[in-house]
Symmetry: D2
């Protein structure tokens, strides 16, 4: 009987901050990535940090971390950690990322990178100077079908792109009785639907069509007041429930964005439509294993949108399942995201998406808010 | 054996100008309306006019008109005609409508009412002074499922409306080799996609949510030149292939419009999404017998968009078929539209939609063009 | 101004028996067919018959018939009638058809042709001897998308057919409180779901794959008793609510049929799936303007079911509308069916589907009932 | 900083046989289950066995096993193993399971349990006598939406069930050029499509409606010969490509099954339709995060199939993701399956599905083959 595999590359060692929803999703991905993508992507889950030592200690066994701590700065200082993985509330992202960068660690940060452009730019600048690997959690673009869509666009399979339309709508705050939380507070969340949902949509637009150069838009807080659960106190919601925008890409292509957290019935309604001169692509995250493709060069009377099911012929799917159409899930996208980071670390190349993309997305969000205030077009530069 | 039915109301007598696509659709509707909606809606197809006497004479037998003429002014002057039905090229609508109004006839005019706001306003004003019945061919809103959607919205079944998103995209000009036609010429067509498709979308938005009060937008001519079939001459396209707009309804609700005649794969992609505080409605003309409804008050774990199939429990469907889900078609919508006009004539009440709505729609289209030029918001007043 | 069109072929003269649901649908079609398919298909609606003179006289104006009668034998004897159109309750079909044939009239009969094989065979034999044109109302196969499917199959576009699966399920009797009607009585309706729905499915299977040669099956009466509305009397339902069958086509292809009138949620759930060695076709009457096609020879990673929207490139669609995707309805299928009959009369060729197909379908239905009784395979010969 | 969690239950120790497709899927699940469902489900991946020591040693690091061996009997004998997990070719399942049972281990076996009824019965009997925990890999029924469907049926939400229709069709052998493999050989695979796909469909039918008591059916080998890749030798396919069956459940409900491995276009076409007196459920594995529900008691004009998206309000979903509609994947179903086994071990209760269900499914498969041979009904007892 044989033990281990002595010749393989050493596992990359992770410290994870935050054991909530995203911390758990990251843990699952860290434990799955080697079995999915091979031993080159072996990960060692070393330390878990949370707000208190007790909370971290309680979560460590199920999340599969060897040690735990109630002090995230201790985690960052730990010499046995290669990567700091930040899954904390949004307003802490920048501070922690800057500390990890200062300690020379690679950094994997959930979106958003920070709460505004200035802070985001500072993190990007620090990461660049330190030369560390950095990655941001825009998981939707890791989907094999989104990757396939990008390949099709870049290969000209839909001709020259002439229009983009994107929606990201959910309904988690559509009920006016849904309480006031940190999500409603600008100091803790930054923007509202724009930050939580719009950031993903803008990132996907960037991935598919390249950078957005200018925007015009509207933001709206539909439910202007909400009550705090604990106190019953009625508070003013400080950020938007929905945002509509006209955009123009650097390529000159016009587009529309529709973003809402108060859209009854939509649970993950991230849909994009890319129209080209010879075809069209449609994607909907609620049917994440499908991509719809129309080609003008199909035979007359036989043209129609094809519903392509994800399979091993699409990027990264085969690592999860050799059989087509069996379906990936949201947590599998995180495994691909982690693999992207590990590959960047192994090869010394930039991860994608990285902090710089986090900053570009933040600039578009901010421009939409400025446009909404001014009623006119605003550049994203 | 019994002959006829001597006691019923006299049939309403129609003169139809134009034997092309729309003329044929109107003819089918005129011949079907009584069998569908009952003998009160009996129609007599009296005279057909076209550009030449020969063309009109050739078309009359199949279209089922007793007489024909090559002179539309003769038709309008005919004392045996109650209604003048205008199915000619767009640039002739206003002139013919004004002549018919002057002759005291009721007027049924295909959209658009005219090529610009001024001309449209003149027709509306003339019709109002003459006191004649008038109707415009916005057939999509006659759909039982669109009528049902309006009823649901007005009854508060989706709560208070908070957002609107509408697309009307087709692909009939997506191929750059599609020739230059009258549709590309401002003098003959007015606006491009905005007039041909956008007008229907704006009308539907009005019907569902009330008037649009201001807009911001973009227009784009994707294929800037096209060749004339006959001459091979390359000509500059004079109107837009696509238009994107941010809109605000009088109610304060924000919305987006996306309109295109170059959207590969879409054949009648008129889709609207109406989001309310307690539910959402989705309609897509390509699946015109379906309405999707989400209700937040369905039981937990049992909520989802319902795909409601058109049936006799929805407005006007039962006149066509007593069995649900068997399906109406686009020509059936014209039968409903004709019934609306006939009912207005019989009862002396305004038809819906009428010329005034044609003008309101024209004002929104024009405001979008102005906004696109200025980069800022423009009122529809 | 010109009158009529003296040189065209004389209109074909119809006498219609029955002014109910189907009588109305036939009337609409008779009035629309010339405007849709051209003056060669002009129809003259001469006499309407119903059970009483009063009922016929009341319906004649809206249905657009010149004369009316309470005696169907008088209609059949009328020398000014070319075609007898039978839209009466099922148990009267055979008697009327035989009388019309005896009078030398062409006969257009709603399905079923008769209530059993013997009676059907007698009608077919009489029609054959008389040499008259005959047509039966299997309207679903007139759908442009079903015609297109047949063309694709016959052209080998899905390779060699290897399997068929068909459902025709509706829910009009799923509620046990739905009353006992003529549909539940063998003397008036013949079989139950098999006759009402199954006949259409079997006909469509025949059209797409050729004749069914043997069957095995199950029939079931789910709700064994129902109450009469008028009397409240509880009566035993005399025919089946659902039928499942294994079938084998003459070609050797195996198939399954699932037929039900108690399938909650389905309104016109006529779906077929035809699997071939190089592709698959799916059709669903509830989305009657769509045909789904999968082709194995599409490029790797780009394969998927195409949703083809009905358009002028498919058989007969263009006669209704020059624009694709705008949608036909169930009543339009009747117009095609009438055109088929008129064309047969004009050209002296057999209509399709004709009475002989009505008999073939009846043989399959009867074989399924026999197989259900015996538990083994039964030939359709 | 704290180490581990000394007070929790000891991890359950796994030995896995087979490092191919299913071995990898099981590994991912074993590594993810604690982070997903909590520390009670901690697993220790101890030994990996494969056909050679080298193959096992190479796979161990990525699959995350501490040790490896080329001798599966050594793994079974290992005192540090609690569970033997069998992911080998089908014909080895029974032998390995019997050996593991004899060694007193719990056994987790991929489907099928064995190649025929006799062998399956022997394994079930041995497991019962030994009193060990056993589980079989029917993963599709672990889907939250399938669990929800069962709950709805059992709670009477669709009334009394009156009909079942199920398909499981894929296209992995639809191309006649697909080579002859072990799947085509009765000695190695047992039945063909029935065993590979039909077993899952029968299991799902059992879970939703209870046991199938008798069947009638057809089997067909569409492509009767295939060539071996290595030798080019043409060999006769020894099992069926498709099977159609009529079934009757113990409850008396009739159903149909359609099973095929040559159905072009379907990648995981496992669809079921359960019709009740007050509603209907539809599930399709290709859209595994959706369940369609029709309720007859929705309001008139508002009824329609609801597309319910999987969310934390459905069984087990919330352990993967707190947000609805974000989507699970096929590998997540394995995590639920593993949790089921671990829970059974922890609590000393039977796992579900267990070997006994594997035997019941085998009996139905065999009965369909017998019915196809005899042309009549066959009991599953």
């Amino acid at each position: 009987m044989s033990h281990g595999a002595p010749t393989m590359a050493a596992a990359i060692r992770f410290g994870l901050i935050g054991s909530g929803f995203m911390g758990r999703a990251h843990s699952i991905a860290l434990h799955s990535v080697a079995a999915t993508f091979g031993a080159d992507y072996a990960v060692d889950c070393v330390v878990l940090a949370d707000t208190t030592a007790e909370r971290a200690r309680d979560a460590a066994p199920s999340l599969g971390f060897a040690r735990s701590t109630g002090n995230w700065r201790e985690l960052i200082a730990d010499p046995k950690i290669d990567v700091v993985d930040i899954c904390t509330p949004n307003h802490l992202h920048a501070e922690m990322a800057l500390a990890a960068i200062a300690a020379g660690k690679h950094v994997y940060c959930e979106k958003p990178l920070a709460l505004d452009v200035e802070e985001s730019a500072a993190v990007v600048e620090a990461a660049k100077r330190a030369g560390i690997c950095n990655a941001i959690g825009f998981n939707y673009i890791c989907n094999p079908m989104v990757q396939a869509a990008r390949e099709m666009i870049q290969a000209g399979e839909v001709g020259e792109v002439v229009a983009f339309s994107g929606h990201y709508v959910e309904d988690y705050m559509c009920d006016p009785r849904t309480p006031f939380t940190w999500r409603c507070e600008r100091r803790l969340a930054g923007a509202g639907a724009l930050a939580d949902l719009g950031s993903h949509l803008i990132n996907m637009a960037h991935v598919l069509l390249g950078p957005i150069s200018r925007v015009n838009g509207v933001v709206r807080t539909v439910h202007k007041e909400r009550s705090e659960t604990a106190t019953g106190k009625v508070r003013t919601v400080e950020n938007e429930d929905l945002a509509n925008a006209l955009v123009e890409f650097e390529s000159g292509v016009p587009g529309t964005l529709h973003i809402s957290r108060v859209a009854a019935g939509y649970k993950c309604g991230l849909t994009v439509q890319v129209v080209g001169t010879r075809g069209t692509l449609e994607f909907n995250q609620e049917r994440m294993n499908e991509l719809r493709l129309y080609r003008t060069d199909d035979a007359t009377g036989r043209r129609g949108f094809r519903t392509i099911l994800a399979g091993p012929e699409h990027p990264d799917y085969g690592a999860f399942c050799p059989a087509p159409g069996h379906g990936l899930g949201i947590n599998d996208l995180k495994v691909i995201e982690v693999r992207n980071l590990l590959r960047a670390i192994r090869t010394g190349t930039p991860a994608s998406p990285d902090f710089a993309e986090g900053l570009r997305v933040q600039r578009v969000m901010t421009a939409i808010e400025l446009a909404a205030a001014s009623g006119g077009w605003v550049s994203t530069r």
